[in-house]
Every structure is written in C-alpha cells, then in structure tokens.
Symmetry: D2
Subunit: 336 residues, 4 copies
C-alpha cells in the first residue's frame, strides 16, 4: 500500500514533511496547499508537487502570478488517505471537522492541544498506542525533544522528578517580523505548558517546566535536572542515549560550544535545508551528581518533528506494527 498524503499548509513544517514523505517508499504526496502565491508556492511547483489553494477565493491571485493550481482544499481532500495539518495555530477544531467530513485521517502538529484529537504521538514512547488511529497529534518540537531523552531514562532507570528550563528561540529564521529584540521574556504561568504536554506521551512522568524566550532564531536550548529513581553513573546515562535513535552527542571540547556551532555542523553535514532532526545533547555537559542528572540539549525547532510525522503515518496505517522498524526506515530514508 502506498499511503496518499496531503499537506495542508506548505510552510516551515509542511514543506519539510512533504520532502520527507517523498523520500519514503510506502507513501507519496498527492498535493500541498498554500493560501497566498509566495515564493514557497512557487517552490512547491518547482519540486513537482500539485498545488491547491487553501482559501478558494484566492485562486485568481495564484493565476495572476502564473502559478498553476489544481483546485481548493476540498479537491485535495478527495484525493488523499491522510492529511498532515501544518496550518498555523487555532484552526485545528475547524479543520478536524473538514477532515472528518471528507472521511480522511489526519495528523495535527504540536501547536494544537491534546484534547483536539485525544491522541498524542511520539515515535519512541507510544507508537503502539496509535496503531490504526484516525486523528492524532504529533507533539511539539520541545515536547519531542524532552521525550527523546527522558523516555529511555524513565524506561531503563526510572525518574522521580524532572525540572526543565526551556530557553526558547524568539522566532524561526525566516520570520523577519517578530521579536523579542534585546530582551528576555519569561513565561509567568508556572509550570509552563511543556511539562503537562510531555505527560501526554510519557504518562506518569513527574515533570515541571519553566520557559523564557530570547533573541535568537536557531534552536531551543533545554537545561534539564532529573532526579533519578535509582542511582546511575554519568556513563550509564550516556550509554542509554548512545543507543537511542534521534539523539546525537556534540561536544564543547570539539568546538561545538553553542547552538550556532551546532547549526554550522548541520550545514557541514549537508543535511536537507541544513536541518538537524536529531536532538543534540552536549556530552561534556552531562553530569550525574549524587543521583541527580544535569544535562543540556538543543532542539532544532524547524525539523525535529518531521520524522515523527512519518512514523505517525506508518502507525495510523499499520504499515509496520513495530516502532523501531519504522524509526529505522524513516532515518535511513532521511539520512538521519
């Protein structure tokens, strides 16, 4: 079976998921939507994707720009088995109704709340729970990052408590409108929403999070404190992560001293769009001190959820029932 995938919202996440789907052998992109005739719409056509217009009234604008369109969102929904909803926040409920009406499955991103679908997904922690599901949310970039490093510790060592501080990038690199500039903005609601969100994919984990936004565009950085259930050495923790997919060590000693150095490494690795789909953990920043683990990790907010979307499709269509098989397949295809 080749799953026919529609991308609703060909932006930061959508364009990456589209490329990732095309790189798999068991799924294919049948079309992408765009609301306005920007350079990203042109890009979709250059990549060979069929282009649909999310807002029907805007079709003439596309035609005026010389961009060939294949119809509106309804037309696209008629051709697909599943739609990946990559629209900006707050449209989830409305869109879910459309997808149900069209009789297609759907995947939402982490900007939507768990309650929208009642199902949240992480490839490592709960793939099996979503086998055959119809409407699922892939958790956010930050939640995905926390889950990738915390779940294996939770499973193999046990965790009493997690305190994590998220130092969040202000905006993505391609956003030239928003800030903050020269300012640090704390999220005054404590714990921040990230902690509860992790629990949607690691039930029972005791985690509290705080967050601040800072004037950078490249990556989020997490400073994490974990009270381990049983004592373990720094080496044991490193060993667990060494065996965990989509977790990559970097090292200050090698000159990788910051998020910008990590992104330089990704450019040198010649990844697609210079992305880093792995979570980067500073090996020389991991320290277990009297049963408490401290570590720093960096999250490439534009891309870490991309392979999770692919795995989620496989789970929903039961293309494979084993999460590691899907993870391996996805990683191979995406050269992660």
């Amino acid at each position: 079976m080749t799953v026919r995938v529609a991308i609703n919202g060909y932006g930061t996440i959508g364009k990456r998921v589209a490329d990732a789907v095309q790189a798999q052998e068991d799924m294919t992109v049948v079309g992408v939507t765009k609301t306005r005739p920007t350079f990203e719409a042109r890009l979709a056509l250059e990549k060979g994707f069929d282009l649909f217009v999310a807002i029907r009234d805007n079709i003439p604008k596309f035609e005026a720009s010389g961009l060939r369109v294949c119809g509106d969102l309804d037309a696209l929904l008629g051709k697909c088995d599943v739609v990946i909803d990559c629209t900006p926040g707050k449209m989830g409920a409305q869109n879910l109704d459309l997808y149900k009406l069209a009789g297609v499955k759907s995947i939402f991103q982490g900007g939507e709340k768990h309650d929208l679908t009642g199902r949240s997904f992480n490839s490592l922690s709960n793939y099996g729970d979503n086998l055959g599901a119809d409407h699922v949310r892939v958790v956010s970039c930050n939640t995905t990052g926390l889950t990738r490093t915390l779940y294996p510790l939770h499973r193999d060592i046990g965790i009493d408590k997690v305190y994590a501080t998220m130092i969040r990038r202000g905006v993505d690199p391609n956003d030239d409108k928003k800030g903050p500039m020269n300012s640090i903005i704390p999220v005054l609601k404590v714990p921040s929403h990230h902690g509860p969100d992790v629990k949607t994919v690691i039930p029972g984990l005791d985690i509290d999070t705080t967050a601040v936004a800072v004037p950078t565009t490249l990556m989020h950085l997490h400073s994490v404190v974990v009270k381990l259930r049983k004592n373990a050495s720094t080496e044991e923790v490193l060993d667990i992560w060494d065996r965990t997919p989509r977790v990559r060590f970097v090292s200050g000693e090698d000159g990788i001293t910051s998020t910008s150095k990590i992104m330089e490494m990704a450019r040198d690795m010649q990844t697609s769009r210079s992305d880093l789909m792995d979570i980067a953990v500073w090996k020389d920043g991991v320290h277990v001190i009297e049963g408490t683990l401290y570590y720093y990790q960096a999250i490439h907010q534009e891309s870490d959820v991309v392979p999770e979307n692919i795995d989620c499709i496989r789970a929903m269509f039961e293309l494979t029932r084993n999460n590691m098989e899907s993870i391996l397949k996805t990683n191979m295809a995406l050269m992660i």
Copy 2:
C-alpha cells in the same frame, strides 16, 4: 569619621560606586583611576573627581588629550583609607599585594574568587561577619541577586534544595565588541560557579546552578526552583520578599513582561543612569506548588552590587554595626 575612598578602575562598576559614595555623608571619593584617556576619563573630571592614571607610562597620553591628572595609582593609595578595586578580572592577587603594601583596606568585586581575600560580603546575609575586616570581596551581580531572594527564605522558612538556571546577558550595553550573536551558549561545567559562590555568603545552603549566555545586553534572568523545608503558601513567600530591602515586585499584568520592560520602568523612575539596583521579581511568576517554590527574577548586572559596596565600606570601618541601619542609609541616599 569620613572614610576616604579610592576607586581603582573607573568603568562600568567603578563609575557607579563613585557616584554612590559621593551621595553618602560618611564617606567621600578622593580619586579615581583610568588606564586610557577615553570619554569616561573626561567624565570623571567633569564630575569633579581627581583623576589618577593606573599605568604610569600612560600619563603623557592623558596630558596630550588635555586631561589633568593628579598622579599614578601609588599617589592615590597614599591618600585613601580604602580602595574599591573595579579593575577587570585576573588582576586581584597582584593588586591586593599593592594595597597591603600601601597599608589601605580594599574591596574587590565578584569577578575575583572568594579565596583571594577569604571574605565574601552581602549586606543582608553576613554584614556582621565583616565588621572591621581589611580585605573583602563583594559577591557578583548574580550571586547578590540570588542571595537577596534566597537568604530571607532560608532564614524564615528553611530551604532543602535550590536549582537555578541563569539566563545571562551576553555583554553589557556599552560593549560593542563581544557576542554572542544569534546563539545560545551553555556553561557545560555543572554546577556552574554561581551555586558554590552563593554558599560563600549563605553557608550551608544546598544550591546547584546551570547557566547559558544569550544575545541580550540588559539584564540576567534567573529561573529558580526552591524545595522549601516546610510548606508555605505563595502569599507567605511574597510577604517575606515584600519586607526584604532591594527586592522589588514587577508584574506581567501591569505590562512588565520582559527584561526590556523592566529597564523601561527604571528609565521612567528617573534613576541614575536608568539603573535598577533592586532585584526585580515577577509577582505573578511566583508559585508554590506542593512545597516547591518557582520564581523568576531579573538582575541589573551593571548596578545591583553598587549599594553592597557602600554597605561593605560601612562594615569594614564599623561606621554602623547594624546591617539594616546601613542598608536603610544607603537606600535613602541612593533613592532605592
């Protein structure tokens, strides 16, 4: 008695301490040093301070710039009772020898280590321990900030453990050379030096800290987790801080959502140099949840240690034996 104070290093901290000393009735500035004839040297003269040249060989450069100098550092040491060392890092040991040779007392800043003098100072937590002392270190801006909010909790409620993440400004506003730009740099050594440093002024406190540097110039921001020894409500904590000098509440609800908004508030308050010598705690960011306190505070790294230097002089010369009397006097004079 009027204590005669010398400022060695009329830069970011030095120029502020000089103004603060002049505002007191029991001490006076007898001179300041500068190494090069910059606009800050000119400023010192305009303010009426006697100017001394830290590096004797540079005296001709000052004369060529038309700046009247009164001699070198030795000359200044001959006129003072105490020298406030505000020189850049790593010169402490060498300078301390000079001060001892000249037979004057000295105060160092937080860039130096505790071991230099064996004495660290915070107005609130250990004023009494430094009565009559000859050579003392005023702890750093971050340590001062942590001490101001943690010490009263430690004293009144008891603290089992503190985890604090420092989100540090990259450089001060007047430094146009250093970064980081568009990057987040973690301090991979864990715990960072801040935790042990707090223990030099609050012995016995169990505190671990992590730190990152971010691309801003205005303030450090701390995200702090405190496991309280005995349960206390959010209101009790707020009430303790409300009675603590040099801690000021700000509120996201009032529109103070970030470090840049705090600095705007300081400008509106018409403080000297738009500084904020208080530690700013977000009132609506303080939350006690099941015995664990979460809070955010912002530290104005250029100025929060200035009143501490004043109090330290009073302790060293036993101008008053009571810390609250000194704090009150200093605050009145500096309109804190």
Copy 3:
C-alpha cells in the same frame, strides 16, 4: 500666559513631552490620556498628572486597578488650549476632527503625513512659518535629524544634492514583540519617504533617501552624502555644526565607536531617561572630499523630537516670535 497642554497618548513620546512641558515656565500639563491601566498609567499618576481615559468604556478597568481617573478625552479637551497628539499612527484624521470640534489647537507627530494639517515644523528651519498656526505636525525623528544637520549647510553653503541611507533600529527598547531578529530589511520603495518629508521643512532641497531596518533598539544611524553647492573644507562644515543647537559631536577616538557607546554617554550625562535629544555627529567621520561631504549621524528616535514639540507650542501661541529664543529657552529648561 501659561498654555494649558493636554497629552493624548502617554506612551514613548507622550510621557517625554509631558515632562518637557512641565519643565517650562510658560506652559503646563493639564492632563494625559491612556487607553489601558498599565504601569505607564500608574507612572502618570505618580508624577502628579491628571489621568484621563482615551476610550471611555475602559474607565471601569482603571477603577478596578485602583487608578484614579478624571474623565475621558472629551473632558480633557475641555480643559486645554492645545493637545499634543501622541497616539499611534493612522488615527490622525479622526482625532483632528475631535480637536477642531473642541476648539483646541493640536500638534501631531511624524507618524502622520504632512497633508493632515498642511503644516510641518522644525524649530531651526521654519519656526516663523508656524506662528499662530492652529494645527501643526512636528516631523519625525529621522526627518528632524536630517534637518538639524542639513538646514544650516543649505543656508550657509548651499546644497546641490543629498543622498542619505538610514540604518533604522528595528523597534524601541521597550517593545518586546516586534523584530527583525537576525535580518536586514530594505525599504524597496526608492526614494524612501524620508527624503520628501525633509522637503516639507526645507523646501527646495534636493534629497533622495534609502532605508533599511536592522536588529537593534537604540538609535537610527544615517550615512549621508552631500554634494555642496560651493566648495567648503571639513573644518568649515564642523564649524557650522558647532554653532548649531541640538547637534553634538562625538568622537571615535574618544571611544565613542557605536550607537551603544553614545547611549552609554547619555546615561553618564544623567539625562532624563538616559535620552539624547541632540543629534550625535561623529566628528572624525566628517570628510569633505572634492566638494562632496560625507558624514554619519545617530538619532535617538525616542527623544529628539521632544524639544521640537515645545518650540512648536511656543510658535503656535506666539509666546516668542524668534526661534532661537525659544530653542534657547527649551534647551535651558531641558538641560540639553
């Protein structure tokens, strides 16, 4: 006569103009407006200003916040001779109607277009043209900056052509919402609106401008090329500016190498809010080469128009008929 001044919009410009009016002996603030009960509203009350609510329906919100209000905008208009409109852009036309209806004079800021009132104002170049006028626009911070340095050259030497590139700060320091972050945004419309705007206060000047926005908050910087009508030496140009009010020299040789260094200088000067109402011209960046003058100047966008508003009031009420007399009076009162 003491002119009764209302400030409609107690924000970045409004709060500065309010303080500046209070510092004069021939005018007084009778009230300020605010739309929401923020810390700036609280500040107005602390400063002793009567507070009015710009949006009548919001009065209960102020009362709920414990802020005493004296009425709505209409009430305020009933008490004043002139209103300084410091509301955000695009409300000019609507507000002008209100002011006319209330029978009060009004001053608008540079965010509004010349056509709104048909009158634009700069203290140096066209004070006399606005004697007794009823509704006037004080030109923007950038236009004010260009006019202060170009007008005296235009008058004393003659100018054939000006090319100026504005490197604009992204947002003001207290705005933690907008960008750009890590990006440079050109104004693709050429010439940018600044050139034509200068002609509203220096008729006949031939000037074209281009502009980019960059990720800073402190000041605009102008790189200016002037083809002089008759040859003049660098010294002659410096001499003209030396005699021009509200133009201040800074020097890279003194260590003032950037906009952040200029702002540090302003803090050291202990100006109100650390503002710099003067235009800063780099003395060692002024070069006449074969009849073409090159120079750099920096504009403190938050404050350079403040004294212009004061002078404009004097012109409109003919408190003095001579511009230099008003400029001198304003500068003395504001310690410029």
Copy 4:
C-alpha cells in the same frame, strides 16, 4: 591536466573551496590544513580529504584526538600545484614567502591587500589579465558583490559615479564570540576600503563607499546609488543583470523581504550548506530616476567568492582562456 590544489586553512572559506574544487573535473584537492583538532578537522577526514597540520608542533594533539594526519604544511606544499590560502588575516606576506620557496602558485583571499601579490581577480571583470599568473588575490565578498553588478553597467552603459553604503553583518553564523550586540558601528574612515578595492578589478571606476556593522550574521546588504553616464531605463538595467552570471533577482512581492528570507530561499533550493553563491538583487528595489540608479543587493559573505576561486585557478593554469567558459563550467559543477 588535473591541477593539484592544496587548501591552507580549512575554515569558513577553505571548506567551501575544497568542496567546490572536488566538484570540478579539471582539478582535485590533494590536502587541507588545520591548526587544531576541532570538529572541522574531523569533517575534513569524513569528506575523504588528506589532513595536514598547519602548525607542526600541534601534530601530537591531532593524534591524541584520534585524527590521522599526513604531515605538516611543507609536506602538503610538496604535493600541490597551487595553494588556496584561506588562513585568517595578516599572515599573507609570511605565507607567500613559503609558497614561493616551495615553487607553487597561490591564491589569497580578500582579507589580504592588493599589494601582497599586485594582482586582484574577479571572474567577470579581469579573468584575462590573470592568465598564467603565479600569485593572485581573489577580492573580498563585498568587492566581489559590487563588481558583479557594477561591471556590466560600467561596460554597457557607463558610470559617472557610485556611492555605496555597506550594511555589514557583524560576524559569520558560526562565530559565537564577537559582536556587536544591539549596536550599530560606523566605519569612520571615509571612503571605506571597499571603494578603492573595487578599483583593483574595475580600473577607472569612480566609487566611494561608507560602511556600518550591524547585529546580524546572515548577509551583507548594499544600498547603491549609481550616476549613469548615459540615461537608461530601469528595464534596461534589469535586462543587463538578467544576462549577468551569478546575479539573481529576488522580489519583495514574492515575500522575499529581507536577508533572512533570502537565506530561507537558499535552504529551500537545497544548495550546499544552504549557501547562496549568487548576488541577490531585489528586482522591485531597482529604480532609475533621472539618470540615477538606486538598488539594493545582498551578499552571502561565506560563499560568493567560492566560484571566483575556481575560475581563478583556471585562469592561472590557462585551463581555459575564456572567462565565460570557465564561469559556465564552474556554475554547472556547483549548480549555481
């Protein structure tokens, strides 16, 4: 003939030139040097390059890091026909002596001055002048950018005068040490060195430049004013650039409003390292007004000189005597 190329300094430029050489059929990389065993040294080995140590005494450090090295710089010079010097500034004179002693040709980058070799190179403007040359400097990223757009106008229309303002990025993305942060730094020496530098590759051009540094990492932006010798329409200018290699139009109307949007476009184009070797000119920012041309262009400082280095090798070894043939070959191989 296959030219054997050595890369001295495998950093920002060196690693890109190495990849570019490998992509050609008439040249090959015989080795690269590194001074310290960082992640870039590891990268060189992973790419299959022979690794040499620029500072012989550091060889043990490489071995301790498990990095296999093939010898020192002398060993590398013994194996190559030409060395591309990509070392940091100020080492040119010393290195040139080494290269001459070893009897190999050499190419320097724009950080060195014209006088070092007496020869400067741009593929478009003076390829023919450097046929068979032994030691040549490829001009800097900014000079290359200016030359690409100015030379064809100079040749086809004629230019009376150019005024250009360079708004320079503070540091490259991978530098997390330097600034400026929240500041604009003007180059007070006028004209800046860029103007004279352009004349080394376009003799006789009358150009004056000014420059400022701003807090971004992505690209330089130029605001250029050109007084054309004979009148030409905007369309004629666009038409000339449309036929010029390595000049690419972008458009604000398509949503490419800033340097960060251009870099996003490069990522979407899946270029190597997300680089943009073309100069980007905003099509809707090009305006001829009464014989004066205004335009904005953006320069990707990390990569625009890379194809120039390739063409320079071809000229020096007379692999082809025609510049357009080399440009075409290089562009094809690099997918420009």
